[in-house]
Symmetry: C2
Subunit: 383 residues, 2 copies
């Protein structure tokens, strides 16, 4: 059964889609789509804001070269085309020719609701949502995809309630579940890093923040961070070792992926573990050292020198399977904390706000494609 | 309380020790040591044979260059010196100047036993043992370090009853514990590989054997292996993919360590998983793919291209912590199987037999330092 459609709900609205084609181009285009009336357990959200996270770029740009973005489109609606290598096209045959929805999450106001009490309870409320198609003016969503915010919350503040907050909380949960007592994060000054810093300060968890610029050291220190290490400094490896010794961190979450950072982390953790162990052990220490790669800011290969004994692990870390491991109750506990602390612990900041048209402007695509820390873009589809 | 010392037990005997010094040399030397009378729960084993496993070489050679081995010694007893780089010396400060015992395991006959019934039960029996100091003529050991073999077992057959057999069994156990149904082994034609092949044939477990020479393909095929892939062939990657598809293997055990083999394994497992998944997933398949590095035949860095989604893990695998995870009952079950099948499933073969003096001959050191598959050395300390 479908609920009555409110009179002021538009029949159609704009959305962004990304289409990869055989000729080595991925095209992001604005197009018109139906605004679907809500079923019993659904609501319609007027989307006010949706962040462009690094995790969105894979679907948007298909691994293409954002710096080579070109204006495209049919003269009616704006679009942008980005070149994609043959190898990348081959690896993504399953999406060829299909206009893929984009935008993992967003925030907005519920303007229509289905007949269920859960849906009705959201009417008029500001919500954050996780949908995979957030770059759009309206979205019809299941109530379970929405997280209701306190009265008076700005929808822009609700826009990034899922990916970064749950990832940051998930890192601390993973750390505890796997028996570690402190952790390392390799992009300390990112929105996610700042959230993680606040969580660790609140929860009394040791955190080693790695940043890539001296400015970011100051920024994090001013926010109360105790251990901030600059990977661009000559003293990086020694500074890192000192911070690992001080915190006892034996697990790291790395958003960079490429290069030798994971190798350095494991090696320095092993050095500290070796200092604490007594006897010589030909296989290295018994301390299990773990690095999880959860992003790929550097898409180059990961190089491991394996100078860190035999008790180590490296792996991918992704939010969705993590949430599955903690179950519905665990996830609900984390969601509740996010909603309660959305303007404090889980506040995000943005370097720029983009209308849908600006989001497909080649210059803007090149800018957000760089994923520079502190310059995140927020799409505002009603602008 | 110490048991009576049998009259024919020698007071002293020869052993091998390895000493790393600050001047960048590691010296393996024959020396005389006391033969200790057994305590209640101990036995004295006359050591007849002890294999040189890759896992022994780290302690023996301290990471030095075996091909540059030089004759050393005091004119009384033989010794050999091997150059070690400054970095390797620095990484092993904990053993500097200490004569380290060598030889993880061996086989022999119990010639004296303490008063406990467990010790007395071993008197006169052929045993395999795990001790860390097996390159010696006599060893006084706790009964728990010994595995009694059936009557008539040649002590040489009992010499490799721990490291390879338990490692091979441990791989299959780990595969099951982590929810995989078939596995890959990257040194299929090694003694360990041949054991694993027999275990998998007996237990009906799918096994992909990777070998590095065409000869080894024939050898394994003649031993009943169904999936043998030659990494030196131009068609290696395709052959590997076919074998992964046929077996459904999503876990691999790699003794090579360096280079891009782990990356290729994860990438091809992901390709097969992607063929079986339906929809396009920007993070790759949900299939968890695991590679464990348990050796380092190639000491160079491990390079990961990360073209295998986000559901993956790479880590070190070591026998001792694995045995701890399965507990005493689990370990006893595996040991029982080894003793029962020591001349069949767990049979080893050797390319050469070396007296203690030959084990420190520079030419022999260079030969066993190469760790060539099919050319394993067996030390025979009574020779």
């Amino acid at each position: 059964m479908t609920s009555d459609r409110p009179a002021d709900l538009p029949a159609t609205a704009l959305e962004l889609r990304s289409t990869l084609t055989d000729d080595g181009l991925v095209t992001m285009a604005i197009r018109e789509t139906d605004v679907v009336a809500p079923a019993d357990d659904q609501v319609v959200v007027r989307v006010e804001a949706a962040p462009i996270n690094p995790s969105d770029l894979g679907m948007m740009l298909a691994g293409g070269d954002a710096s080579a973005a070109l204006r495209a489109g049919d003269g009616m609606r704006d679009a942008v085309a980005v070149p994609v290598t043959e190898a990348a096209v081959a690896a993504q045959r399953a999406r060829l020719g299909k206009p893929m929805p984009v935008g993992n999450e967003g925030g907005g106001v519920v303007v229509a609701a289905g007949s269920s009490s859960a849906a009705q309870a959201l009417l008029g409320r500001t919500v954050g949502f996780l949908s995979g198609n957030a770059y759009a003016q309206y979205r019809t969503l299941h109530v379970g995809q929405c997280l209701a915010m306190g009265d008076g919350t700005d929808p822009a503040d609700a826009a990034a309630a899922f990916v970064n907050p749950l990832t940051a909380l998930g890192m601390v949960e993973t750390m505890r579940m796997e028996g570690h007592t402190a952790l390392v994060h390799t992009v300390g000054a990112s929105n996610l890093g700042l959230m993680l810093n606040r969580i660790c300060l609140d929860d009394g968890v040791g955190l080693v923040n790695i940043v890539r610029k001296p400015d970011h050291v100051e920024q994090l220190r001013s926010l109360g961070a105790q251990h901030v290490v600059d990977s661009s400094a000559d003293s990086f490896v020694d500074d890192l070792t000192d911070a690992l010794r001080a915190t006892g961190a034996t697990i790291a979450f790395d958003a960079i992926g490429g290069g030798d950072l994971a190798s350095i982390l494991l090696s320095r953790m092993e050095k500290v573990a070796g200092e604490q162990a007594g006897d010589f052990n030909r296989y290295g220490s018994d301390t299990h050292k773990q690095v999880y790669i959860y992003g790929g800011l550097d898409r180059g290969p990961t190089t491991l020198r394996r100078d860190f004994g035999m008790s180590w692990g490296l792996g991918g870390w992704l939010l969705t399977p993590f949430l599955a491991t903690i179950g519905q109750d665990g996830a609900e506990r984390l969601r509740r904390r996010v909603a309660d602390e959305i303007t404090t612990t889980f506040a995000s900041s943005y370097g720029t706000r983009l209308s849908l048209a600006e989001a497909v402007d080649p210059e803007q695509v090149a800018r957000y494609g760089r994923m520079a820390t502190g310059d995140k873009a927020l799409v505002t589809p009603q602008a």
